[in-house]
């Protein structure tokens, strides 16, 4: 099955940048109500406005391989990047995941994240893959970043209740 590519399993077993670190500008706790998966995520920024850069993303994730791998990819792809780039990466990830298999994803933007493209064929799992990313955008907002233009699109409602 194309969902569990080796790269995903590697990330889920040895998630990059895992653990909660200080200092941080904001900490958020997000839950997937379907399965009880949880992520606590911190962001640390430097600079302000257009110069803001993601200095660190640290997290404690408890969940399925998809959600843990996705948090690992997130940390890889946004740490050291400008907030603007990070939000573009988020948008690209979201577009791929919610495309029902139509958007393959661009490796130059998403890095290892393209290995998550198989998730888009399983609507019930999209929320797993987006858990860390939505936590990240929430943490940015709580750090004072305007995320309104990036996060207007909604994720599918499927698999959200229980």
């Amino acid at each position: 099955m194309d969902l569990y590519q080796e790269l995903i399993l590697e990330h889920s077993k040895r998630p990059h940048h895992a653990g909660l670190r200080e200092p941080f500008d904001a900490e958020v706790h997000h839950i997937n109500p379907t399965c009880g998966d949880e992520v606590t995520l911190r962001v640390e920024l430097t600079g302000t406005g257009d110069d803001a850069v993601v200095r660190d993303v640290s997290y404690a994730a408890q969940g399925c391989s998809i959600s843990v791998a996705s948090a690992s990819v997130l940390a890889d792809e946004v740490i050291g990047h400008s907030v603007g780039e990070a939000l573009e990466t988020f948008a690209a990830m979201r577009d791929m995941l919610t495309s029902r298999g139509k958007v393959p994803g661009d490796e130059t933007v998403l890095g290892d994240g393209v290995a998550l493209s198989g998730v888009s064929k399983y609507p019930a799992r999209v929320k797993c893959a987006l858990l860390g990313w939505t936590a990240f955008t929430d943490a940015l907002a709580r750090s004072g970043v305007d995320i309104s233009t990036t996060t207007t699109d909604s994720t599918p409602r499927q698999g959200v209740s229980s």
Binding site: L3, T34, C35, G36, C64, I66, S162
Partner: protein, 435 residues
Amino acid sequence: MTSATASFTDQELTALRGEFPILTRTVRDGRPLVYLDSGATSHKPVAVLDAERAFYEQHNAAVHRGAHQLAEEATDDFEAARATIASFVGASADEVVFTKNATEAINLVAYAFSNASPTGGPKDERFVLGPGDEILVTEMEHHANLVPWQELARRTGATLRWIPVDAAGALDLSGLDDLLTERTKIFAVTHVSNVLGTVNPVTELAARAHAVGALVVVDACQSVPHLPVDVATLGADFIAFSGHKMYGPMGVGVLWGRAELLEAMPPFLTGGSMIELVTMERSTYAPAPQKFEAGVPNAAQAVGLAAAVRWIEAVGIERVHAHEAALVARLLAALAERPWVRTVGPAAGQLRGGAVAFVVDGVHAHDVGQVLDDAGVAVRVGHHCAWPLHRAVGVAATTRASFAVYNTPAEVDALVEALDRVPVVFGLDLERAAS
């Protein structure tokens, strides 16, 4: 002649499965569907689909209103359905209230309590709750038999307490004397756990609750489709169950309540149909069960559910139970041979319902379910609307296989075969798991 509990011959099982059109479809690139999620919702036999269709094709009318022939026929069908369903659980027809689902049935009781609790108007003290009163539930409950009681406690100032669950997934009754006291006004408990399959000693618990004057509400969603249930034997005051888990349509549930209590209870939803006399200032209400069925009811679904009950009765509920118990035993035995799988819930050999929950240590339930789904095996993963229960037994999420009468031993084997792929896909160290 076959006895009531004789297992099905292959031929019988094939014929029985043939009554469920959906079981012939394929999933995920042409794999045969192995549906082991009947605890969430069961499939529907043709007899049920036909009954619902026949209602619309031949008798469709708003019941309990209108004097034309269709209205008479629709009302007769609806009331006959009530009688059929009542008889199935040993009740009389006027004690059966049709709801949208079991969740609404439980909310109906909870709101009767809070509607009786504000000041003003005549009321029955048994339904009045306030500070100092207690509602007792268990840690095993489906959210549907927990959240309405949390909310009732919040609205009235009553205190919510609960019976804990032990590590084996049984109710820990050691502290019952402290939990069930004269302060307890309501005791809400599930008959059979929707996750673990645990069968609770409801008859004994109901007697204990009645001894302190509490009213007993039983969630029977996972028992009525799988075990013979008789309301007199159970000894509860109210039971709730859903139609769609017992081969009936979605959109119909049942509340059974003792007639005398239904008569004394204030209504939940109000409006048309449930009234006796209406003036601009106030209204009086119809006798139960009409008092609790405001608006045009779900007659077609009730008729479909009655067809489902007749279908179960034709098969025999004892045979249903015996067949499902054999499937559960087959699965438990196979899981026991796999040290990397941990079953949560009662040990093999104990009385249990049609659900088996398990965990593969090191692999999240969502990932287990995905591998099974890839093989066409449909199970449920997550906390199954019983989040506190999962916390109590120390797991975040489980994989649950739940059976119905149409499942086969071969389907149990298909599940186990698919499950054996899990350690391969996720690279589990089986020798370490076994040690």
